[in-house]
C-alpha cells in the first residue's frame, strides 16, 4: 500500500522526495489547516480577493467547458443531424429533427464496425508485445543482471534520444524485407505490433519499478529453490500490477492514437484501424454519416477516460516524458 506507483521521470527525480514528504507535514499542520496555495487565509478573508477569485474560477470553468467539452458536444449533435442542417445552421440545435440513422449507417454500411474491430486488434497486439518485451527485459536487466546488462540498457536508453522520424524509412524497409522470415509483413498486423515493442520508455519504467522491489524477497525465493521463470511469474509480476497498469494505459492510448505508421504499413481498408480509415472516408461519404463515424471513434477513448479518470490524470504527468 505504501508502495504506490513509484515512477519518476528522470527530470523530475529530484521532486519525488519532496512530494513524499508532504504527507506527514500536512498532518502536522492539523486537520483544519487545509493544503494552502498561493492565496493565503488572510488574503482569503478580504472580500475583494474572495470575489475576484470566485469570478476567475467561474470564468475558467465556463472557458474549460466551452473549449474542452464544446467541440465534443457539437460532434455528438452533428452525428445525429441531417447534413443540410449541419451545413446551413451548424450552431443551431436540431432545426429539422434528429436523424439517428446516421450512426447505424456509419456502423454497418460504411463498415466502421470493421475499422473499430481492427483498432481493438491493433491496440491489443501492441499492448501484448510491449508488455512482454518490457517485463521480460526489465526482469533480466533489473533482477537477473547479466554482465552485458549495462551495455544493453545503455543501448535502450540511447534510442530515447533518436527522434521517431529517423526510423521511418528504414523501419518501413524492414517491414518490407524482415530478416529471417523472408516474406513481407506489409498489410499484416505484425507490422504495427512488433515495432511498438521497441519502446525504451516502457523498459525504463518497468526496470526502475523492479529496481525498487525488495531484493530480500528474490533471495528468499531463490533459497526456496525458485528458478528464474518461477521468480518472474510468481514473485515479480504479481508485485508489479501498478506499473503494468501504467504501461498498459500508455500502450493502448498510443495504439489508438497512432496514424502515420499504421497508414504506411496497413494499406488495405479491410485491416485499417479507425485513425487510418477516417481521413480516406472524408471525400467518399456524406457529411452527416462521416461525422457519425467520427463520433463513434471518439466514444471508446472518452469512455475509458471517464471510467479511469484518476488513473489517467495521475499518470499524465509522466506523459510529458514520452512526448519527446
Amino acid at each position: 500500500m505504501s508502495r504506490r506507483i513509484r515512477i519518476t521521470p528522470p527530470e523530475q527525480k529530484k521532486r519525488g522526495p519532496d512530494q513524499k514528504k508532504r504527507g506527514p507535514r500536512q498532518k502536522k499542520r492539523g486537520p483544519d489547516a487545509a493544503e494552502r496555495g498561493i492565496i493565503s487565509r488572510s488574503d482569503w478573508r478580504r472580500p475583494s480577493i474572495r470575489r475576484s477569485t470566485r469570478a476567475i474560477h467561474a470564468t475558467l470553468l465556463v472557458l474549460l467547458v466551452v473549449a474542452g467539452l464544446g467541440p465534443l458536444l457539437w460532434l455528438l449533435k452533428a452525428s445525429i443531424t441531417p447534413t443540410q442542417d449541419t451545413l446551413r445552421t451548424p450552431m443551431a440545435l436540431f432545426p429539422n429533427g434528429v436523424d439517428w440513422q446516421n450512426l447505424a449507417t456509419a456502423w454497418t454500411t460504411i463498415h466502421i464496425d470493421v475499422q473499430f474491430a481492427n483498432t481493438v486488434i491493433v491496440a491489443a497486439g501492441a499492448w501484448a508485445v510491449q508488455l512482454i518485451v518490457a517485463t521480460t527485459g526489465g526482469f533480466a536487466l533489473s533482477v537477473l543482471r547479466p554482465r552485458y546488462g549495462g551495455v544493453v540498457y545503455a543501448l535502450v536508453l540511447a534510442t530515447l534520444f533518436v527522434p521517431a522520424v529517423v526510423l521511418l524509412v528504414p523501419l518501413y524497409l524492414t517491414i518490407l524485407h524482415p530478416p529471417l522470415i523472408g516474406t513481407s509483413l506489409l498489410n499484416t498486423f505484425w507490422a504495427v505490433w512488433l515495432p511498438a515493442g521497441a519502446s525504451a520508455f516502457n523498459v525504463v519504467l518497468v526496470k526502475r519499478f523492479f529496481d525498487n522491489l525488495p531484493r530480500e524477497i528474490f533471495e528468499a525465493a531463490r533459497v526456496d529453490g525458485a528458478g528464474s521463470l518461477r521468480l518472474f511469474w510468481s514473485v515479480v509480476l504479481p508485485m508489479s500490477r501498478p506499473i503494468l497498469g501504467v504501461v498498459s494505459v500508455f500502450a493502448i492510448i498510443a495504439a489508438w492514437k497512432d496514424y502515420l505508421w499504421p497508414m504506411l504499413v496497413l494499406t488495405v481498408p479491410a485491416i485499417q484501424p479507425l485513425s487510418v480509415r477516417l481521413p480516406a472516408l472524408q471525400q467518399t461519404i456524406e457529411l452527416d454519416v462521416y461525422l457519425a463515424a467520427l463520433a463513434i471513434s471518439t466514444v471508446i477513448p472518452i469512455a475509458l477516460f471517464v471510467v479511469f479518470q484518476r488513473f489517467f490524470l495521475r499518470s499524465a504527468g509522466l506523459g510529458g516524458a514520452i512526448k519527446g
Partner: protein
Amino acid sequence: MSTLQRSAASGIQTRRSPASWVRRGGLSTLLFMLPLLVIFGVFSWKPIVEAVVMSLQTTNLVTPATFVGLENYIKVFSDPQLGQAVANTLYFAVLALIFGYPVPLVVAVLMSEVKRMRGLYSALAYLPVVVPPVVAVLLWKVFYNADATGPFNTVLSWVGIAPQPWLQSAATAMPSLVLEATWAGAGGTIIIYLAALTSVNPDLYDAAEIDGANIWKKVRHVTLPQLRSVLLVTFILQIIGTAQVFLEPFLFTNGGPANSTSTVLLLIYRYAFQNSLGGNYGAATALSVLLAVFLAAFSLVYFRLTRSWSTE
C-alpha cells in the same frame, strides 16, 4: 551486494565453460533478454544504423544500393522546397510557443487555487487530449469550413466578425493549424504543471507573506521560479515535438495552400512515399538524419545554457 551478483562474481574462474554458464542461469537470463534484444535489434537499433547508412546511398529496392557519399545531403540542401519547409516549421514552432506555451501555465496556476471540484476542472482540461488526434484534426477541419455558414464563422458572425478563410488562405492556414494543435495538446501540459504546482513547498508562500508579498508577487517570485525546472523541460519537449509536426499539415492542408504549411516532416514523407519516380529513400533519410542532428545539437546547447543560467 545481492547473492545473485555474488554468485556471478564467484563464477569468474569457471566462466569460460559453456556448461557452467548454463548451470549458473546464463542461458535462462539470455532467454529472458531475448524478446528485448530481438525487438530492439530489428525494429530500433538496426533501423537507426541503417538510416545513417542509407543517407549515404541511393536505394530503389530493385538494384543493389550504391554509396554516393554526401550526394543525398547536397540534393536535400539544393531542393528549393527545403527553405520553405524549414521556414514553415519554424513558423509553426514560434506560433505554438506564443499560443501554446503560456496558456497551459496560466490555466494551471489559476486551477491550482481551485479548492472545490478540482477534478472536474482537470477532467475538462484533459478531455481534448483523449480525443484521437486524427478525429480532432478531422473535426476541426469541419469547424474551419470557410463558408459564411461554417461553425467557426457562424460563431464569429455573432460578435460581428467577418467570415475568415481559415485553411483556404496561405496567411491564415498555419495559425489555424496551431490553434487546433494547441487545443489538442494543452491539457497534457496543464496536468504536468498542476502536478508540479502541488509540490511547491507551502512554507515558501508563508515566508513570502512575512516579507509582505501580495498575490501577484507570490506568483512572480515563488510559483514561477519553483516551476522553472518543469518549464525548462516542457519548453524543449515542445520544440522537439513541433519540429516533427506531421499530422496537422498532412491532414488539414497537405502542405497547401501554396506550400504555406509544408513542414520538414511532410517533405521527408514526400521524398520517401509520395514520389512519382519511386521512393527517394536516400534523400528522405538524409533529411531525417539532419533533423535529428539539429534537434540533438539544439537540446545540448539548450541544456548547457539553461544549466549555467539556473545555478547562478
